[in-house]
Symmetry: C2
Subunit: 332 residues, 2 copies
């Protein structure tokens, strides 16, 4: 087998589901490597909601976008199968921005060796983009304090589930919002959240009130949608809102309006949008912050595995329909 | 004349104009002072947009409200007419939270002596609430940098006019938004703003685009209204939005929605609401920051004088209809 498959962005998405037609599948001979290069065979590839932004980004976007024709961007884990690079040997496991491809030639830049014996799924589910994002958003921006109340939307998602567990470990009251009862049960029974709300239920206003009797100090927003205004209404004075994702609005042709700003004054609330791309230079520091929580057994995760690179495009729709159960990983 | 007038909050306002019926006017004998007290005859009283918030504040508000029956809150300047207090002598001019009253007995707490020869109008227009608010909002939160572009709404108002001049003095490109052509002319011709937009004109989208060719780094929001979304659309990456006032929405029964939050992520924008009440402990530090700009002739102001305490209630409506020309001060 001397051919390999790669998937390239061909068309920028319109509002609505992701279709195969947005991508071009290419089969090419596995290339030779030159001096100071390695050939990586990818084994595990991460699918993240941020990809929608990387694809959709218009000319006015401020986040580096994937150019048309380029291999779709993603983080992944692979094995070095050939090396002319002094730092890597065949058999090494590495992590990096490998993209939607079965094989990748790399000069080594941005590649990190994965310690022997590491679980690749844990690396992608905890120590890659989800964990860096959760750690930066919660500890870098939200200033969590024991006894405070945090509400996390997309709470069963890859970022939200980590944010909630980190906050819980630090003594906060943690309420998660998710899109079905199974997810709600998982975040309370398995992850230890103090409460969960299925946003599709009736009566979320009173549920939210009951679950946050002392109001909300931190709102970690991963989804958007009507729950946003509800949580906003519960914010306490000096509350912090971290806007990490708005997956429910990425697919709407007409994004819904946000909350009126008067309460921001009355309650002196800060709303901070962030994108992890700005903070990748702090990855080592963020991993060092995160590692003790993992070592202490405070962090649980689950993965939702798709088989084969071809499953990636359709897999993105799981972010919109909420049918994934855990961190989305494509096994190659 | 041994009687004096004071005005008390009697009813909390509903959306719409401020009416005399919200207040109770009381005439009472001028009281005797006891040990360690002074009697102050107020000469100049400040009217500020924040008063609407102090009055309207419902039980869920987080800013100290004026209780029903209490003298309406305000800052003012007065003369000590009798003193049993070691720190104050008759004839001293003092500044403090004197309230809507002709005379006030005080134990001295929160009273500051105004240096001999100071212009009371300048004290209230620059060094009192407007100047503290502008200095805290701009330098405490907005992190202004020379060469950046700032858009200030309510730019001819007491806070906005100072924010713009401070930013201009620090080398920013300053665009002001105001509600009529005279105000626009004042902020450009007299205050030195780089551009002005009458938000009541047609075509504000293209005007704003023309005046901010490199986008907007700082949005200092004093008004709310449809211009908010327009300025929001122009924000640059890592932009900062300071929400200081929403006067146009205070009177609406149904506050208008705010911008969708997706651009906060894409552009990594922070929206920070603040209330000066949190920062009064920093007043000396803020005045010290502000003073050199005044000393260097960088700060101009104008005052709109109302005569007599009875003019205060109706005077508040000038904030809503925009018919004031400069800092509102009641001369007693």
């Amino acid at each position: 087998m001397s051919d390999y498959l790669s998937i390239h962005l061909a068309v920028r998405p319109q509002p609505g589901p992701i279709t195969q037609g947005l991508f071009e599948l290419k089969r090419q001979p596995i290339p030779e490597i030159r001096n100071d290069e390695v050939l990586i065979k990818q084994t595990h590839m991460s699918l993240d909601p941020a990809m929608i932004g990387w694809m959709s980004a218009d000319r006015e976007s401020y986040i580096p976008r994937v150019e048309l024709g380029d291999v779709m961007r993603s983080t992944g884990i692979g094995v070095i199968v050939a090396s002319n690079h002094p730092d890597f040997s065949p058999g090494d496991t590495v992590q990096g921005m490998l993209g939607w491809t079965e094989y990748k030639v790399s000069g080594g830049k941005g590649l990190n060796k994965v310690p022997l014996g590491s679980d690749p799924e844990m690396v992608l589910a905890v120590f890659a983009l989800p964990g860096l994002t959760a750690t930066q958003g919660l500890f870098g921006f939200a200033d969590p304090k024991a006894g405070e109340t945090i509400v996390v939307t997309g709470a069963a998602g890859s970022v939200g589930s980590l944010v909630g567990q980190l906050a819980k470990a630090d003594g906060l009251q943690v309420i998660g919002v998710a899109g079905d009862d199974e997810k709600c049960q998982w975040i309370t029974d398995t992850l230890g959240f103090d409460g969960a709300i299925n946003y599709k239920n009736d009566g979320i206003t009173s549920m939210l009130k009951d679950l946050t009797p002392e109001g909300v100090d931190i709102f970690f927003e991963n989804t958007g949608g009507p729950i946003q205004q509800q949580v906003f209404n519960r914010m306490n004075a000096h509350g912090r809102i971290i806007v990490c994702g708005m997956i429910s609005d990425y697919v709407s042709a007409q994004p819904s309006p946000g909350p009126n700003w008067i309460p921001l004054i009355k309650k002196r609330v800060t709303v901070r949008g962030f994108a992890m791309t700005d903070h990748l230079g702090d990855a080592s520091k963020l991993r060092a912050k995160l590692a003790p929580y993992v070592a202490d057994g405070k962090i649980k995760f689950r993965t939702h595995i798709l088989e084969g690179l071809e499953s990636a495009p359709e897999g993105l729709n799981l972010f919109f329909n909420g049918n994934n159960r855990g961190k989305l990983i494509v096994r190659l």
